[in-house]
Amino acid sequence: MLKFIVRRLLLLVPILIGLSFLVFIWIRALPGGPAEALLGERATPEAIAKIERDYGLNKPITVQYWDYVKTTATGDLGTSVTTRRAVTDELKQRFPATIELAIAAMLFSLLGIPLGFFAAKHYGKAIDSASLFVSLLGVSVPIFFLAILLKYVFAVQLGWLPTTGRVDARIDFDHPTNFYLLDSLWTGDFSIFWDCVKHLILPAIALGSIPLAIIARITRAAVLDVQNEDYVRVARAKGLSPREVDSRHVLRNALLPIITIIGLQTGLLLSGAVLTETVFAWPGIGTWLVDAIRSRNFPVLQGGILFVSVIFVLVNLAVDVTYAIVNPKIRVS
């Protein structure tokens, strides 16, 4: 098992290298050349010359790449073209917002587990078909469309929930970590915490709708599979009550593929965050990257995409390791 983990960790290295290389090449493939991309298109000749010196664009490409790796490894991801702040600083501000949203969406999508379980138990009946239909509907609705509709119905028409941002504009509180839920709990003022939660609900539902549909279906499939396995039949024959059979054998073994799928949703969540954040004016990585595309803020795009991908790779690694821990087959081998 340790061997497995070490092997996976080692695999990480070429992937990260390949990723950094891909991003490195990408910046140089952009229209206008890297200097203009990093400065903003209409750069003066003096500024371009300075960038060329700073980034060593006149040096051979291997040296450039090595310099790039060195600077990135130290955490220097460049300077944003529009705000002139360090990309890492903006990242520190934006990333917790997206993480909070992603975790909330993930929690919402866990509702898929009981839904899938329920559908599996009623396999073949109308309810099963209906739930299948609904979950497929869930993956067929574009996220931004769903977000807009949710906003319109729940915020505007019903007035239950707010439409924009992470917290009401009039509330003051310190958010040192930028994880609003944590920071607001720390202040001890529950009404602030509650306001943050309210702002989180609609975006989390919109973002989590697709993972919810997928998790529901995978749960259903996994439960169906396990149900027909021999050991379950044995357990039933032994006289265990259906509920005990379910909890002790079915669910526990069905959990394996479910856990894998949950981890794999990270990619969907990160992608979907881009669209969801735009609709709710959520100040996270998504809106940051969309603004960066519009203003051709390539340092931000480069740093942002690289960072998000690294996180994604690490999460996948964590999922693989968890899977290895939980799956007895791998543990033994």
Partner: protein
């Protein structure tokens, strides 16, 4: 081994392939969801192909006098889905939009599928360091979440309909590559292939008559689902403003972006193209899902 055994093995070689398909088709026909999916997709493709005959007006023709100083007149006898902010018939625009969506889906998936299958076939069949290298490349591509990869590609290529089709297609390459490679690896090791090899049947023949047909089924399933995702992803990119640069293009995703501002005054402008996207994507998903269940060997033998 005896000739009898050989013949028995020959029969065994053919068995899985044809039986699998006819069995799958039978199951598909009895799956209500899949049937609904076929109907939806059938309608979608029909409308896309025969758009000029089905549309009631020119989708680009503006008639500002219909707006009467505001926006926008809803469904009427003359304009079945109503009229958009520039006085264009919405029904015709939605109908022609089906063409764009079909084109987008097909091209993106074609890009992803062809390149992905090529890479997967090479990796799967060649094995060794070629396999490792190609799969590491695919892993790197997969390490960037789908939409972000597409955004990165569009940033490099510039915005436009063709560019987002390519971008979405490229994001699908690793999925197909991995799929085919996995399939090939799995079939490569099966008994009957080993047997065929040991009897002396040439590699090329094995590949074309046995390995590939058995690997195709997951690819078909994935292809259908990929069509669905392609349509949604392109709509998303269009929503971010990276889509067709000619604003009058009747593409469903861009139609959605322009019309969300009228949600409170003329909601049908956004709801109808949105519903069109949902229906066509849902259709493909239903078919893909039905196919997956139909072709899954584990379900064989069950009711």
């Amino acid at each position: 081994m005896s000739v009898a055994e050989l013949e028995a093995r020959e029969v065994g070689l053919e068995g899985p392939s044809s039986g699998l398909w006819s069995e799958a088709w039978r199951r598909l026909r009895h799956n209500p969801s899949a049937i609904v999916g076929f109907v939806m997709v059938g309608t979608f493709v029909f409308v896309a192909l025969f758009a000029p005959l089905i549309a009631t007006h020119d989708p680009l023709e503006q008639d500002l006098s219909l707006l009467n100083g505001g926006c926008c007149p809803g469904p009427s006898a003359e304009h079945w889905f109503g009229v958009d902010a520039l006085g264009r018939d919405l029904f015709s625009r939605v109908v022609y939009g089906a063409r764009y969506s079909l084109l987008i889906g097909v091209v993106s998936v074609a890009v992803g599928l062809s390149i992905g299958l090529l890479i997967g076939a090479i990796a799967g069949y060649a094995g060794g360091w070629v396999d490792s290298l190609l799969m590491r490349l695919m892993d790197i591509m997969l390490s960037i979440p789908g939409l972000l990869l597409a955004i990165g590609i569009v940033a490099a290529l510039g915005p436009g309909l063709v560019q987002i089709m390519i971008a979405v297609g490229v994001t699908q390459i690793p999925i197909f590559a991995r799929l085919l490679r996995g399939s090939i690896l799995a079939t490569k090791e099966t008994d009957y292939i080993l047997a065929a090899r040991s009897v002396g049947i040439r590699g090329r023949v094995i590949l074309s008559s046995h390995v590939i047909p058995n690997s195709i089924s997951p690819v078909i399933v994935q292809g259908t689902l990929a069509l669905a995702t392609a349509i949604i992803d392109v709509a998303g990119l269009g929503f971010l403003g990276l889509g067709p640069q000619d604003p009058s293009t009747p593409e469903w995703g861009t139609m959605l972006t322009d019309t969300t501002r009228y949600l409170q005054t003329a909601p049908f402008l956004a709801l109808i193209p949105g519903a069109a996207i949902v229906i066509s994507v849902l259709g493909f998903n239903l078919i893909g899902d039905g196919l997956r269940e139909a072709l899954d060997p584990r379900f064989r033998g069950r009711a």
